[in-house]
């Protein structure tokens, strides 16, 4: 117990600030994009910008995208502070984050998950495989593009995409959800 406390006290704070995060290109630090930061600050005050709940659906990914999603929860990225969190059930989710090229064996699962999510909902395709630009592409066992099966609102390419890219993708989805809400009112099935 004591070791735990001392180790914790010795740990430096590693969390990136929101500005750093929105500018993070993974390899070398970029400069903060001020318009992105400002629009984020505006979005934060709205219903879907204030709280985004994600359910991850693996439709045949190679596991790299999963690990990048998991990395979002670590102290460096800490997406919870952005009001974004992973939830245990699609019933609780606003955004389905789909990774992988939609294999034949998972087609039904994706459909069921999509049905199990309440409107307004959105699908965010993560990674080249889900976006339809993957190396494996279409085979007897997979469709190679998630958009063929469910409506995809936004996508983040990369193999795998950088965690910061995923965050930017999530912000984009939240923005679109919020726009749709403002346009169509509560409970809209528009998306």
């Amino acid at each position: 117990m004591w070791k735990l406390i001392t180790q914790r006290l010795r740990t430096p704070r590693t969390t990136l600030s929101v500005e750093e995060l929105l500018a993070d290109k993974g390899l070398n630090e970029g400069t903060p994009d001020q318009t992105l930061v400002q629009s984020w600050n505006r979005l934060r005050r709205t219903a879907f910008g204030g709280s985004v709940h994600i359910r991850h659906v693996d439709t045949g990914s190679c596991n790299a995208c999963e690990w990048e999603l998991t990395a979002l929860l670590n102290p460096v990225y800490d997406i919870q502070r952005l009001g974004i969190d992973f939830v245990a059930s699609p019933r609780h989710a606003d955004v389905l984050v789909v990774t992988g090229g939609l294999t034949r064996n998972l087609a039904e699962a994706l459909q069921l998950t999509y049905e199990a999510t309440a409107h307004p909902k959105a699908v965010l395709a993560i990674g080249a495989c889900a976006c339809g630009t993957g190396l494996i592409g279409r085979t007897y066992a997979q469709q190679g593009d998630v958009a063929l099966s469910v409506p995809v609102l936004a996508s983040v390419s990369g193999c795998p995409p950088q965690p910061a890219d995923i965050i930017r993708g999530l912000i984009e989805v939240a923005t679109k959800l919020e726009e749709a809400r403002v346009k169509h009112g509560h409970g809209t099935p528009a998306i």
Partner: protein, 308 residues
């Protein structure tokens, strides 16, 4: 009037306390964490979402969430937060308060089982086990606190506290304090008993019962969990640390009581968060051992009452 004020205060403060604990935990984990206001944002969003109901569900699913919150509101009306002078429901009787919580538990379990999800069943089985163990401990601890003066309601217990020095009967108070804290951790679903942040459905207890809920229902159940937590915090403070609770109905003392209550809740939240950050979830079948320790403390407190 004052009664309604206390109720509304608890209802509004509960989500903040939840968010505060969450934030403290994040800080202790080396993160920044969501702001304490995050729960309100979540509720706002959830209220704007559609509701999905299971095809297996009965009308229970439609009414239970509102009903659970209603029961907890009645619970709020039974427990003094700022002052015991308000005309509390049923005179603030221990038994009525805990029966209301038991009713809420019953309704929650019904809500969970209604959809036929196995995870809800799992959560229900575990919650029932904990309920079987905690209920006697809580009531015994409460009785131990007021046994000598025949104080079996919160106002009379607070009156005893006000009239005598609680530290005068230190052993019993101290034992009750620990026993109730141990139960509080179980009842609010915190580590090392239940992991409120878990994403593993097989390990869930309270979370498992909510997996089927959407939109408004989910918001209500989350709010109910927050209210329940605040109620347990307030109960603990009423019994073990009633410092500053208003004895007269005047704006001054009430303001002090309000500030102190909020402060004490946050302090207790801090303690809970620290305990959570230091612990891992224990095996389910070790929980009875943990609780039997609390039971022993409560029994010893009673014996101390009888002996002194």
């Amino acid at each position: 009037m004052l009664d309604a004020l206390q109720v509304i205060l608890i209802l509004l403060f509960a989500p903040f306390l939840q968010g505060f604990i969450h934030q403290v935990k994040a800080r202790l984990q080396g993160r920044r964490g969501a702001s304490p206001w995050q729960p309100y944002r979540e509720y706002r969003k959830l209220l704007g979402k559609d509701r999905l109901l299971s095809t297996s569900a009965s009308p229970i699913t439609r009414v239970a969430p509102v009903f659970i919150v209603g029961l907890l509101i009645a619970g709020c009306a039974t427990l003094p937060a700022l002052t015991s002078s308000a005309p509390l429901l049923a005179g603030g009787s221990f038994f009525v308060f805990l029966s209301l919580l038991a009713f809420a538990r019953f309704a929650t379990l019904m809500l969970g089982l209604d959809s036929g999800s196995a995870f809800a069943g799992m959560g229900a089985g575990r919650d029932l086990l904990f309920g079987v163990l905690t209920e006697p401990i809580v009531l015994l601890s409460l009785i131990a606190a007021g046994l000598q003066r025949a104080a079996f309601s919160f106002p009379s217990l607070l009156a005893v506290h006000a009239s005598s020095d609680i530290w005068g009967k230190l052993p019993a108070t101290l034992l009750v304090l620990i026993a109730l804290l141990m139960v509080l951790i179980v009842e609010t679903g915190r580590l090392p008993i239940d992991n409120p942040d878990t994403h593993l459905e097989l390990t869930m207890i309270h979370e498992g019962l909510t997996l089927e809920l959407t939109g408004r229902d989910l918001a209500l159940i989350k709010w109910a969990a927050a209210i329940r937590q605040t109620l347990w915090f307030t109960l603990w403070l009423d019994v073990c640390l009633p410092v500053g609770i208003a004895t007269t109905v005047a704006p001054g003392p009430l303001l002090v009581a309000l500030l102190l209550w909020v402060g004490k809740c946050l302090l207790l939240g801090l303690v809970v968060a620290v305990l959570e950050s230091l612990s891992a979830k224990m095996r389910i079948f070790l929980v009875p051992r943990y609780l039997s320790f609390a039971l022993t403390l409560a029994v010893i407190a009673i014996l101390a009452d009888a002996a002194l």
